[in-house]
């Protein structure tokens, strides 16, 4: 038996390349029209709702979903191309990305038909924003310590408790959350959590912003006080959310967004260094590009596994581990190399502004979407050590 994990060198099919050209052209037009500034990662995203609708109109949201729900029935590989082009261009994707990547697929799998018919087409049109309600003040890595209660009442449930670190809750229309519907059992401490579809901006939900060290406000505390959720908003099996949570993870963890969040500093370093770099800069850039290329090939390979209907949980964890550790150290390596950039480099100011922001961003990268320690635990399990 071999413990080694293989990432087959799959190649993106021809139709992906055509699509890539379309996405690049679209983004170039948006940049020219002033929708967003690709060199300004700390963006305000004022036009983000309109941008989302235009991406939806292109058919680039819910791309892999059935047509009857507004999807395009295209491949994961095509979706992959759209994601990486958006990410590399620093496009304002926050509003639609969670719904497209995660919430939509959960609804597809677990929501009743009439809810699918109501919500999925709206996601595809780029009209609505989703948040993920997993973490609580005493439940982050240890998801199964979640305490926020869903108490059965007439025709639905009453929710009481607090979610925290909820990205985009302040702009979200919906949240997919896990709540405690019963106590864990002796045999299974994961038992007793249920997944719900929560409609935001309703009575009994209060969203309090939490500032981040980057100076941005992206995540929030969400307080539930006797908030009512109707029965048909239960997603999947009551008390069985733990079984549902793991298959989501491969989607969340292996995509290009898991190693490209600070990519922009590398491009700007190459620009600042110019066409004839000194040896130290050349070596630094060469290594970073080799590492980036390798991760991307692994990530494309996982997209191929998803396309083939597999659930590559361990492989996805490896890509996230290597990817986020890389994107975390990238701004520091670039800072190191930028020390040798000429004062006169035309983009020096942009590079410095970007480095400042990327260095502040870096600490979160190995935490969001599952910490590095937790991922390594999953990989260790995959190796048969636990």
């Amino acid at each position: 038996m071999t413990a080694a994990l293989r990432f087959d060198p799959i190649r993106l099919p021809e139709k992906c390349e055509q699509l890539r050209k379309e996405v690049r052209a679209f983004l170039a037009d948006e940049i020219a029209a002033g929708t967003f500034d690709p060199h300004k990662p700390n963006r305000e995203d004022t036009d983000a709702p309109e941008f989302s609708r235009r991406v939806g109109a292109k058919g680039w949201l819910g791309m892999t979903w059935p047509k009857k729900y507004g999807g395009q029935e295209r491949s994961f590989l095509e979706r992959y191309v759209v994601t990486e082009e958006m990410r590399v261009a620093n496009a304002p994707t926050r509003r639609f990305f969670v719904a497209d990547r995660q919430s939509g697929p959960v609804l597809l799998k677990y929501a009743p038909e009439h809810i699918k018919m109501e919500i999925l087409p709206r996601i595809c049109r780029g009209e609505i924003c989703f948040a993920i309600g997993m973490s609580e003040p005493n439940s982050g890595s240890d998801l199964f310590a979640a305490k926020t209660r869903a108490t059965k009442t007439d025709g639905g449930y009453l929710i009481n408790g607090t979610k925290i670190w909820t990205s985009s809750a302040h702009i979200a229309d919906y949240m997919i959350a896990i709540f405690r519907t019963s106590q864990p059992t002796k045999e299974n401490r994961r038992h007793g959590l249920t997944q719900f579809l929560v409609k935001m901006k309703q009575p009994g939900i209060k969203v309090n912003p939490i500032g981040q060290i980057t100076g941005q406000y992206e995540f929030n505390e969400v307080v539930f006080t006797d908030h009512f959720i109707p029965d048909d908003h239960v997603l999947g099996e009551v008390d069985g959310a733990w079984k549902q949570a793991t298959s989501e993870l491969a989607y969340e963890r292996s995509g290009p967004e898991r190693f490209l969040e600070t990519y922009y500093v590398l491009t700007e370093l190459v620009r600042a260094v110019g066409p004839n770099p000194d040896t130290r800069s050349a070596e630094g850039i060469g290594r970073l590009v080799a590492q980036l290329h390798t991760m991307r090939r692994m990530s494309v390979s996982v997209a191929g596994m998803l396309e083939a209907g597999k659930e590559p949980v361990v492989e996805a964890s490896i890509v996230k581990d290597i990817g986020t550790v890389w994107e975390q150290q990238l701004p520091h390596r670039v800072r190191d190399l930028a020390a040798f950039v000429e004062e006169t480099a035309t983009n020096r100011e942009t590079l410095e502004r970007q480095l400042d922001f990327a260095i502040k961003t870096a600490p979160k990268l190995t935490i969001q979407g599952g910490t590095t320690e937790v991922l390594r635990g999953i990989i260790a399990r995959g190796l048969g050590l636990r």
């Binding site: 293989r6 190649r11 070596e283 590009v289 080799a290 581990d321 320690e373 995959g382």
Partner: protein, 354 residues
Amino acid sequence: MAESDNIVVETAEKIFADLADPQTINNDKTNSWQAPLWQALSEAGLPLSWVPDDLGGSGASLADGFALLNAAGRFAVAVPLAETMLAGWLLAQAKITSPDGEMTVLPASPKDRITIDADGALSGRSRGVPFARAAKHFAVLAHGKEGVSIALVDASKARIESGLNVGYDHSDTVTLDKVQPVSIKAAPKGVDQTHLMLMGGVTRSLQIAGALESMLDISVRYSNERVAFEKKISKFQAVQHNLARLAGESAAALAAATSAADAIANAKSFNDEVYLEAASAKIRCAEAAEKGGGIAHQVHGAIGFTMEHILHRYSLRALAWRDDFGSESYWAVELGKLVANRGADELWPLVASR
């Protein structure tokens, strides 16, 4: 070991399993295992995998040959299989028939150069040539007035200074002093020293990745056997996390190496995209050898530091293979120059080309 539906790899793995068991090799201080192994590999036609039938080889595809090299890496075999394959490939580029027996290639470093004199004799020096001492012939890439040529040279005509790499394998300095080749022909367009170095680099990458696969295997196994503080050490979280990182390094090396092999096997020409793949593989695999090998030794404690244990057969070879056909820092500088030269806005299109 990994199952394979590839007949070339299956054949090789069977031979390795029968004749190149690492423990047996380790115990054999006289190297008497080498002759039967080489004979079996030769009878199966494996050293000349990349040589077409009409030039004396077995005509396997580039892809099959690459997979075979990865398997050889998993066994960390120390016979000139990879070197003979490369030599045969190089000779075949110029339609020169491969002779029987062990071969290796010159130069083995991007900075060394062999030149063609006016009378057609070859001169120059190449350092770090793997298995030069064991080779009967050299496949040589040489530069002359007319451009690049490929030559077959009788090894006994060369001066060889013995050396050993950190993996205790032959790594010799070969000097050609006006040596008349057995045959010499112009290299086809596109086959130059860079091309040869990158082919060699990908060869070494696949071997390093294979060695890491085996290091991961034996480290996981060892951690499940060794007991300390009344527990298997695999139950300690710190050890688990180290092994998870080793798995990541092994997976990254294998992904980079197989991707580069796939790129070369399907390439129409040796363009920037193929260059990115091949150079990246050598850089990333070398980094993985350093990080991954370090972890494998850490997990094994003192026993893994002994000559009795098989770990060093993989770890030291993986480290040694970093040096052949251009080290990771050499390729990083070259790749960095290429990227800088194409310009900032061409970086992503290059990375996202496949």
